[in-house]
Every structure is written in structure tokens, then in C-alpha cells.
Symmetry: C2
């Protein structure tokens, strides 16, 4: 990727000064149409492309038309959907390139990615946190008032956040189960370190407590296999729950698998947080409380753009509602 033609190369070919070429490629006035034409054909012939680094260096105040999004796990379909919405909004409304990278869940790598994007100078950052508190690079950028928006999870600092109403959604989902007569409900959670999971747990506990019901709680179910095991074990126990709230989609997948293998899918109620591709493919179809990825991505983009435009008001916290979609599995009565 070297030996690219520069303004000078184009200028030499067109027989003009490189400043004239600069004017032409930037559509600046003050170039006669004959010369402009000659320059344009030289540009086309050499395949000249402006060097973004040099441009950015010279006009260090200008917009880079680039924002970065740092993923915890870009293969998560929910994260991908948020990303898609975020990207579409920024590309279409602000002509801004969205670049991304994923830390695969490693906090050190996560912070390192923030660092790498910072070195490369972006207009702003969207971050899906992997841990409770920001790493050194992220903290430095927050101090520097770099436009940053956190998506989906609490960053552990006072900053702009766009997140689903985890508490309200989990509370509503659990109430939904309790309304069908269940008195003993299981909670299937993934990483307890994750704030969104903790919030869903809080909403779950709210609903259980207000109804005076009982609960069984499992955390650490980060893969379908682990969730499958946990459900199998729970249901074999003496006082097994009669309804399950899966706080995360992979846990839900494992729960469905276990229920079907045990043949108890028509007996044990299940509500799953998050969208599930499989929701209406199984019998009974799975009642879900899906996060609105489209709204989250769009809201994050809006907040970030406002910050990039110079808005320096206090951090905002945008909460996107989560609504229950009844499909059958959550309506199984005791």
C-alpha cells in the first residue's frame, strides 16, 4: 500500500502547481475550467486519492468524519443489530464512517482498542463496556471530554449512556410469570459482573419480592451448554422452580434445549430477555422481552453526534423501553 500518487505527482502530470491540484480536488473556486479539466484527467489517470492522514494533520480542528465503536463481542446478534442501526444512522445523516473492533470480552484488549482508535484520531467513540469501570485509556479520554457514548451497559462513571430498561423489562417479565400463578421462579443469569445482568436481576427480585414468591438464582451461565446443565439440575431438585426467567439470550437457548430434552417444555414456563431467533420456531414459541436494538443504535448515534457538535451539557442517560412479546412459553399457568 505504498507509492501512492500525491498532489505533486498529479501536478507534474498536469503541468501545474500542486496547490492548483489541491483546489481542484477540493472543489475550491478560482481555477479555470480548462486547467481543472486537465487536472481531473490526471487525477483519474493516476488514480489519485487524497491522503487522509495529511489532511487531518493539517486541519487538526476539522471533523474526521469517523467514529469508532468498540465491541465487547461483535458476534453477539444483539450487538450486531445495535451496530447496524448506529452505522446506518451516522452514514446517512452525517456522512460519517463507522469503524469498529471487538475485544472478545477481554478488558485489557478493550482498553487497548480505545487507545488505538484514539491514536488514529476519531471524532467520537461508542463503547459497549466489558467491565464495571473504565480502563486507563478510556478514563483519559473521558477526562479530555472526547465525545463518548456508552451503549447497553453501565460504564461505572458519569457519562452518556444509552441502555435498555433492564430493570423495568425484567420486572415486567417476572410479573408476567407470577401472574400465571407461579410461586417459585428460576433466574438464569450470565456474567454477574455485567451491570445489565445485575439490573435484570434487580428487576426480577423486585417482582418476586412484591409478590411474596420464591426464587432460585443461577449466575455464570455464559453459554447454552452451561445453561442447559443448570436447568437440568434445577428441575431435578426437590423444590424445582415452575417458571424460568432467562436473563440473557444464550442462557435462554440452553434453557430451551434442556426443557425440550427433558420433555417439559409445556410444563415449565419461560420468558427470555433479548431477542431470540428461535423464539417462534419451537413449540411452545418463546415469550421474550426483546431489547430494541434499532432504537438503541440510533439513540447512541444521536447523542454522540450532539457531543461532537459541541454540546457540553451534563451527561444524559437514555433508557429505551423493553416490551414483552407473549408467544406461549411465558403463558403456561401453574
Amino acid at each position: 500500500m505504498s507509492d501512492r500518487p500525491t498532489l505533486k505527482d498529479v501536478a507534474a502530470k498536469a503541468g501545474v502547481s500542486f496547490k492548483t491540484v489541491s483546489r481542484v480536488v477540493n472543489d475550491e473556486p478560482g481555477v479555470s475550467s480548462a486547467i481543472a479539466e486537465r487536472v481531473r484527467s490526471a487525477v483519474a489517470e493516476l488514480g489519485y486519492r487524497r491522503n487522509h492522514s495529511a489532511q487531518v494533520l493539517r486541519r487538526s480542528d476539522a471533523r474526521l468524519q469517523t467514529v469508532a465503536i468498540v465491541h465487547a463481542d461483535a458476534t453477539n446478534p444483539f450487538a450486531a443489530a445495535v451496530h447496524a442501526s448506529f452505522e446506518r444512522y451516522l452514514r446517512t445523516t452525517a456522512d460519517t464512517l463507522v469503524v469498529s473492533a471487538s475485544s472478545h470480552g477481554d478488558p485489557g484488549e478493550h482498553d487497548r482498542l480505545v487507545d488505538l482508535f484514539t491514536e488514529r484520531r476519531v471524532d467520537g467513540l461508542a463503547v459497549i463496556p466489558v467491565s464495571d469501570s473504565p480502563g486507563p485509556a478510556l478514563r483519559r479520554e473521558l477526562d479530555r471530554n472526547t465525545p463518548i457514548v456508552f451503549i447497553d451497559r453501565e460504564p461505572g462513571v458519569n457519562a452518556d449512556v444509552v441502555a435498555s430498561d433492564h430493570i423495568g423489562g425484567a420486572r415486567a417479565a417476572t410479573r408476567h410469570l407470577l401472574a400465571h400463578g407461579h410461586r417459585r421462579v428460576g433466574f438464569l443469569g450470565s456474567r454477574e459482573q455485567s451491570d445489565s445482568i445485575r439490573q435484570r436481576h434487580a428487576g426480577f427480585t423486585d417482582a418476586v419480592t412484591e409478590a411474596g414468591a420464591e426464587s432460585v438464582v443461577r449466575f455464570g451461565l455464559t453459554t447454552p451448554d452451561l445453561a442447559d446443565e443448570a436447568v437440568t439440575e434445577l428441575l431435578a431438585g426437590a423444590d424445582a422452580p415452575t417458571a424460568l426467567f432467562a436473563a440473557q439470550n444464550l442462557a435462554a437457548v440452553g434453557a430451551v434445549r434442556a426443557l425440550h430434552r427433558l420433555g417439559r417444555q409445556h410444563e415449565v414456563a419461560l420468558v427470555a430477555f433479548d431477542h431470540l431467533e428461535i423464539a417462534d420456531l419451537v413449540e411452545p414459541a418463546i415469550t421474550t422481552a426483546p431489547q430494541n436494538a434499532e432504537a438503541l443504535g440510533r439513540a447512541a448515534a444521536e447523542v454522540l453526534l450532539r457531543r461532537i457538535d459541541g454540546d457540553s451539557s451534563d451527561p444524559t442517560r437514555i433508557v429505551v423501553p423493553v416490551e414483552i412479546v407473549p408467544r406461549g412459553s411465558g403463558e403456561l399457568a401453574l
Copy 2:
């Protein structure tokens, strides 16, 4: 994202020349430890970060430690899995940042993204094509011998490609169905413009022809809903197929949905190309011919790295085998 401290700012704070600071931040020899220490604390205090643009500009021959991947649709789980493998390999073995963007299937936007990454100077590009032939920007980069690897689909030019064995996988999957006695097999395809879909169709046709069986072919099933409709219609017809080959995962999801709604999931055989999250959640579990996303991503990274390292041999075509995973749905006999 402005007003960042520069070498000069750090130098002023530490009371040295900016070149000395440069030496310290680059771990170059020739700085006394006392001064180096003073510089390091000034760096820490100001939160100095090297300006990547300036660095790249100065050393225009050097590696940028950055490659870009341009997606057709980053929300496709298969694409996401390939990306994850690609990213992990490059981050860990070559300390290279992988940035990405997605065109959401729009060829013009796709080529524009290539252009934007080119302007930003990356060491190489990985491209998941959206159309049969490269756009102007991509063509220009190919002419310029920019390291580029195409993933999963044919680019329409002579270039490095890493792709699954679509033909062989589809042929094997179809033979698998025919081996269970079916004589009339349906083909469910998504975009006919896509070369991978055409190849799967070719493999399908191979197997049908060699067995002297009959086929019904549907293209354009790009969403589960469209596939659902198509299957519903096919099965209602006079000479309905008794087995289905879904050439793409979204089409497979729709097919499963239709079969279950019609209650014919134990009667009509189904093999699906690609990985399906739902594969073993439904009854019968779905027999698949999954692409090896991990191998594809890794192979693409290896090819690209070799090109970046200066390998200028003829374009290679790496074909990653696709193996059938029998789970039940594909073994339903006539």
C-alpha cells in the same frame, strides 16, 4: 477531540526538546534515565498520545498495523464469526488493528467504503463482495496491488479468494437427501446474483442430475418470511418436493418455520447450508452443512498478511471444505 497535547507540549513541560520526548516515547536509546523519567511523568500527566496521522505521514513506507474488512452485512452471524476469527488472528499474531464497516448490501456504498478506507491508508483490505464485479475504487486498488483478499464470494476478478467449497458442500448435501430415497428435491436460494448461491445451486444440480432425480428451484428467498411463503406454496403444489435443500441460513429458518406450521417437519426432509443456531433446538434437529467460519477467517488473515509482507506471487484460491452434520431432518426417508 481536539487540543490534544503534542510532543512539543510534553517537551515544554519536561524542559527538554521535543525530539528527546520522541525518543522516550519510542523507546529509542540515547536518553539518560533521569531525563527519560522526567519525560515519562510529563507524558502521563498530560495524557499524551502519539498522533497516528503524523506518524504515518512521516514514515509513509511503514506498516500502519491496520487492516480493514468491508462487510456486505455484518449482522449475518456467519459474517460475524468469520470476522471474529480474522480479527483474533491479526490482533494476536501481527498486532494489527482490524477495523470494519458494513455496506448493508448496497454495492455503491460498498465501493465507497473501500474508498474511505483507502483514503485512511490501511495495510490491506478484506472484502466480502456484494456484487459480481468490483466497483471503481476496488478495481483501482487491485490495479495498484494493494493487498486485498476476498472472502466467501467470487469477486469477479483474478484475485486472492478464501471461500467455502460451496459446490462440493451442496453436492454432498443433496446426495445425502437422495441417498434417503427422495426423487424430487426443492432448492431454496437467496440472491441469485450471489456467486456462492449460484455455486451451491450448481452442486445441487450436479447431484440431482447424476441421480436422474427431479428438482424445483426457488431463488430470491432473502428473508425467513419469503422462504416461509415459498415453502408453503411449494408443498401445496401438485408435485411437491419430498426433500428440501436450503442454500442459505435465513432461507433455512423460514423453511423450518413453514414445516412446523404445516406440521410436516417429520415428513419433508431438510438439509441446510450454513450454521444454524436453531439446528438442534427443533424436532427433528436440522441436518446442516456448516461453513467453517473460523477456518475462513484465519485463512483470509494469513493470505492477507503474506501479501502485506510483500508476497507477489499469482493470486491464490483457498477452498475450505464443508462437511455435513447429520442431526435428523436430513435423514428422513421417503
